[in-house]
Each structure stands twice: as C-alpha cells, then as structure tokens.
Symmetry: C2
Subunit: 337 residues, 2 copies
DNA sequence: TGTTAGCAATCAAGTCTACCGAGTGCCAAG
DNA sequence: CTTGGCACTCGGTAGACTTGATTGCTAACA
C-alpha cells in the first residue's frame, strides 16, 4: 500500500496527471498503454485506474470517459510523483539574464519580475514587496509644499520611500522643518520600522509640539509601507485557462483584492506549504485554481513572497521550478548591496 | 432627413438603444409598441426600423430577430438622442461624501477614486495620475543607503515623490550629499519638471562632478514620474460583460498594458472626444468596447484623465454622468490646497 | 398619404431520435 | 497476475421536426 513512486500504479497516476495537464482532456487506458514506458495492456491499466479511483486519486466524469485527477491526485503527484522541478539551464540563463540587466529601483524590479514570472509560466503571477517591518529607517525629512502643507518623507534601508502629506498646524517654516527632520532622522536612524513608537523630544516646547505632530505622519507613513508593494500580472492568462466566464470573473475578482491574495500567500508560507491545490487553501472562489508560493529573502531573512496562480491542471513542475529559480535569483540580487 | 431628436424615427432609435442596453437582447417591434410613450402600431415601427436599418443605425442579426444598434446607432444616441447624463442628486451626494472623507495622499486618493468609479458604473475604470511635466519641483535630496548607494528623492508641488537609487562614485559622504541636495533644491525649486535640463554648478570641482552625476538620477526620476500613476480597477467586470472568454482575454490583456490604455485615453481627449465606441478608437482588441473619458484639472489646468471601459452596450448616460461628476469633484479636491 | 391589421415567410433555438465511438468493467483463457 | 475479447454505458453529434419570435409585404383604412 502506498508503496513507492516506482510501482506501476504510481507510474500510471503520474502519467494520467501529466497527460491531463498537457491536453486538458480525460485520459483513457488506450492512450496510456501506447505511452513509451508502459509495458502493460490497456486492460491492466484499466484495473489499476479503477483502483486509483477507489483510492480517490482519479475521477471519472462519466462512464464512457477517461479519468481525470482529483485534488488528492494532484497532491500526490506534487508530493511524490512529479519529476524534478529543475527548470533546466535555458530557463536558468533566461532568469539570470533578466536579473543581470534588471532595473535598480526596487518597485520596478519587482514589477518586472512579476512580468517575467507570467511570461515564463503562462500563469498569473504575484510578487509582494519586501515587508517593511524589519527594514531600518535611514532618513526622515519634512518638505513644505505650501505654507500650510508639509510632506513627510521616510527613506528606509531597502531604498523604499514612504511619504505622508499633512496639513501643518501653523505657517510652515523651512528652518523648523529641517530641524525636526534632522532630529527625526537622528532619532529613528537604524531603528526598524516596526519600532517607530515615540517621537524625538525637543527642548523648545513649540518644536516639541510640532515634532509630536509630524511623528504621527511618520508612523502612518511606515504603517502603510507594506500596502504599496503588491504586484500582480498575467490576469488575462486566467481568462485563457478557464472555459466558463463565471470562473474567470470569480478568480479575477479575487486577484483584484490584493490584500486577500497576500494574506493567502503568507498563510500558505507560514504553514510551510509551497503548493495549494483546489480547495486546500480555503478560498472558495479559487477552488478551481492552484497556488504556488516561494519566499524570497534579503540577507537570509525571508521578507517577501512570489506566487503563481493558475488552474489546478497547471504544469506544477514548471511552476514550482520557475518560482524557486526566480526566488533564488531575486534573493541574491536584493542581498548584493 | 435627420430632422431632430423628436421625430418618431429618432424616438424609436433611442428606444431600441435603451432597451438593448437594458436587456442585451435584440429588440422587436412588439416590445417597442408596448412602450408607454409609443402611440403607433408594431407595423409602423417595423417600417421605421427598416428605414433605420437602411440608414445604418440598426442591424438585424437574422431575419427572425429584433434589431440591435450598430456603432453608428450608438454614436447618434450618444450625440443627439441620449437623455441627460445628469447622474442625479443621490449619486452627486455619494461622490461628494466620498471626497469629503477621502485620503490625503494623492496616490491613494486616485486609487480609491478608481474603485469609486467602478462601483458606481459597474465598468472597468482608469484614472491616470496628474501629469508631472507641469508640476513644480519643491525639493531634491540625496540620502545614503550605504557607503556606495545613494537614493535621490525628488518632491514636486503635487506632493508626488519620485526617487532613484544609484551607485555612488566613491564613498558617500553625508555632508557632500546634503550640500548637493541643497544646491539642487535651490537650482530646481519652482521650476517645472519638464525643465530639468542641466545640473547646478559647484565651485569645488569634485562636488561639481558628483553633482553632474546625481543630476542624471534626478532627470531619470522625474522622467519616470508619469509612469507610476495609472490606476485600473474593475477588470473583473469585463468578465461579467462578455459571454466569450476570448473577448474577455483580449480586453483584459489590453487593460494590463497600462501605457496603451493611457495613450488611448489621451489621444481621445486631445481629439476632443469624450466617448469612443467600438472600432472608433482603432484598438482592434477593444472593438466590442466603448471608452468614456473625462479630463480633470488642478487649478484650471487639465492634468489627468478619468476613463471608463465596458461593452458597447454600456449605459452611456450613467457612465458619462459619473465620469463628469467625479472629474469635477476630483478637480475641486485637487485644486483646494 | 400615412397608418394599420393580417398573413405568409424566415430562421434561431429547442426537442426528439438515432447512432457513433470512446472508453469502461468483467469474464474467461493464457 | 495479465490479457484479449466483448457487452455495456453514455456523452456528443447529426438530422428531422417543432416552436415561437419577428419580420416584410400587401391590402384595407382613416
């Protein structure tokens, strides 16, 4: 029972899954028997498939049809049967080439990484920006837009820039603003974003009041930091993957709710899962989808997520391979500086 | 010929368009004759419809079907026959309420405005950020991320912040950086973004070299400024509007190419068109779509665009009304400060 | 002259039937 | 345990027929 990956039954399950991924049509015994590696007759394959159906790995849409993998079937395929997710040297080169001439700016880098993922897998791709919570603050500056409007600009060590526009309580004085900015920079410098808890204090009581006021903007600016960085591309591939418009609508409408997608990916990662198939992830609108996730890290710390979303009959080997490959390259790239 | 909007034939055309917008099904003479305002028999209506078909305003999918508006029919409807695009006091209140408690930050304001548009019209919505070319620069600062990495931060009068991360030629010295930043701020202050043409000069030859180097980053940062600000929401409504998955895929794949959408909207506006129907705009993948655009302005200068995209049988009155309403409110809001 | 009732004509879409064929399950022989 | 053979199932396709919506035309009418 549940022997290895080499027994005949498993081989047949693998062949069914791969054929179905390829052709999106129920797979019959005759087709399988004709496969190069297969040394048994259709009748034997039928027996095995019948057993696989009993075990819950396959499903028969109707009596006179071939078999289709169930979620459990895909799961077993991904966990045990799949041949290596190594994307091969061509793709490795492609990814390396991409990162070699990729843009400096982190946002543009991530956004074009998302497009790269979509292009390589033909799936919808998601990349979340590096979580800002652990990033260190490098500079805080206050700039007057007008006499009553001030923009607070916070730069962190990732090179992310967050800002908050506020109405200044009184006439904005550029000397004062500079002084507050310098004090803030000194105060927060090298502290992590999540440690922004109290404003710097000033001798001068007016400055102290203004400083406390500006501090609120700093806190809000860094609190929003994570919200910016979600990149999603390849939505149109979803339309190409499903025949039913309703499914397309449901899936796309989930993809439009970025925070939902991010939550989903994070929760998968935190449970140590790299792949969620069908209803495993619990989002009912995505029950016909599978999600592949991989974390990426900066200096060894996992800070962001790469995700691929497509139909359950996606090419898992390719998707997982590409996700990991891109994750490694992106991590390396972001850890350089 | 082409009398007014009050002759019977025009009334019938209007009724056909409105019925078709409503029900998405070919409209027959019996249905029209039963309409409250209609005082003639189905036979008469048939005669008129036949004439309208001859004039190119209507089309009959097949002999035993009712009539469907052609592009020309929609065009005439929008230009002459449509009843007022006034969205009514409820919606005006809704929009005012929205802007009353909307977010300060321009990006978030525009992004939630896009969602508002989608919600109110059930169409895909696009808002382009205020063109930065005419914005005045308020501040330029150089911040060291590490000894060899510097981020150049440019703040403009809209409150937009642009940045560019560069490798510094040498050890980054915070005193030098501050000096260059101050000189840049003084040099570019109140100049328009499009006028960023030459760096400030420094007495010190090393500073002058570094300044020229940093200037490149400033120019690149402001050149990219326009690229950020495109907000698109409601893609999933497209899936709900069309029956064919291919159409959905085509349209969404256009929506994914932001620059294409922006170009389309700008070119419509520059030709003074507020509505483009079907093939009028020349983007073949959108031939089953109509696009409604409205500019918005800051202090009387048109700086950005609002757009709505949906099927040709969208509710034009509502779409145009909402686009204009939101445009006015957004303009007012952005011109306040 | 414009309007209308009446009516035959048209044609998409639905229903019914027959049939084909892909694919199975099972049995008996190897 | 494997396999060939065979009856069986059932979705899908094709054709014939029906239904119903809608038209265009004609002739009568105001």
């Amino acid at each position: 029972m549940n022997a290895g990956v080499d027994d005949r039954r498993s081989t047949i399950l693998r062949a069914v899954v791969e054929a179905y991924i390829d052709a999106a049509e129920p797979v019959g015994s005759a087709y399988l028997a004709a496969l190069p590696g297969m040394r048994v007759s259709p009748a034997t394959i039928r027996n095995e498939m019948s057993a696989l159906e009993g075990e819950g790995y396959l499903h028969q849409p109707h009596t006179s049809a071939g078999r289709v993998p169930t979620e459990k079937g895909y799961r077993r395929y991904v966990d045990e049967l799949m041949t290596s997710a190594d994307p091969g040297p061509d793709r490795a080169d492609q990814v390396q080439g991409f990162f070699a001439k990729a843009h400096q700016e982190i946002e543009e880098l991530l956004s074009s990484t998302t497009r790269l993922l979509t292009r390589m897998t033909d799936l919808a791709a998601v990349v979340t920006g590096p979580s800002a919570h652990r990033a260190r603050i490098v500079s805080v500056q206050l700039v007057a837009l007008s006499s009553r409007t001030v923009v607070v600009v916070v730069v962190d060590a990732n090179g992310s820039v967050e800002k908050r526009t506020i109405v200044w309580p009184g006439e904005a004085d550029s000397g004062q603003l500079a002084e507050i900015g310098n004090a803030m920079t000194a105060h927060f410098r090298d502290r992590e974003v999540r440690d922004v808890d109290s404003p710097p204090r000033f001798e001068d009581s007016e400055l102290d009041k203004l400083g406390a006021y500006a501090f609120v903007a700093v806190r809000e600016a860094v609190r929003d930091a994570d919200r910016d960085g979600v990149f999603i591309e390849g939505t149109s591939r979803i339309a190409a993957s499903f025949g039913a418009v309703e499914t397309v609508r449901d899936v796309i409408s989930i993809l439009e709710r970025h925070y939902l997608v991010v939550t989903l990916m994070r929760s998968l990662l935190s449970r140590g899962q790299g792949v969620a198939i069908g209803s495993e992830h619990g989002v009912s609108s995505l029950k016909e989808c599978a999600v592949v996730v991989a974390p990426y890290s900066v200096d060894g710390v996992e800070v962001g997520t790469i995700g691929l979303i497509g139909p359950t009959r996606m090419n898992y080997a390719s998707a997982i391979g590409v996700a990991n490959l891109v994750s490694e390259n992106l991590s390396r790239r972001l850890s350089e500086g």
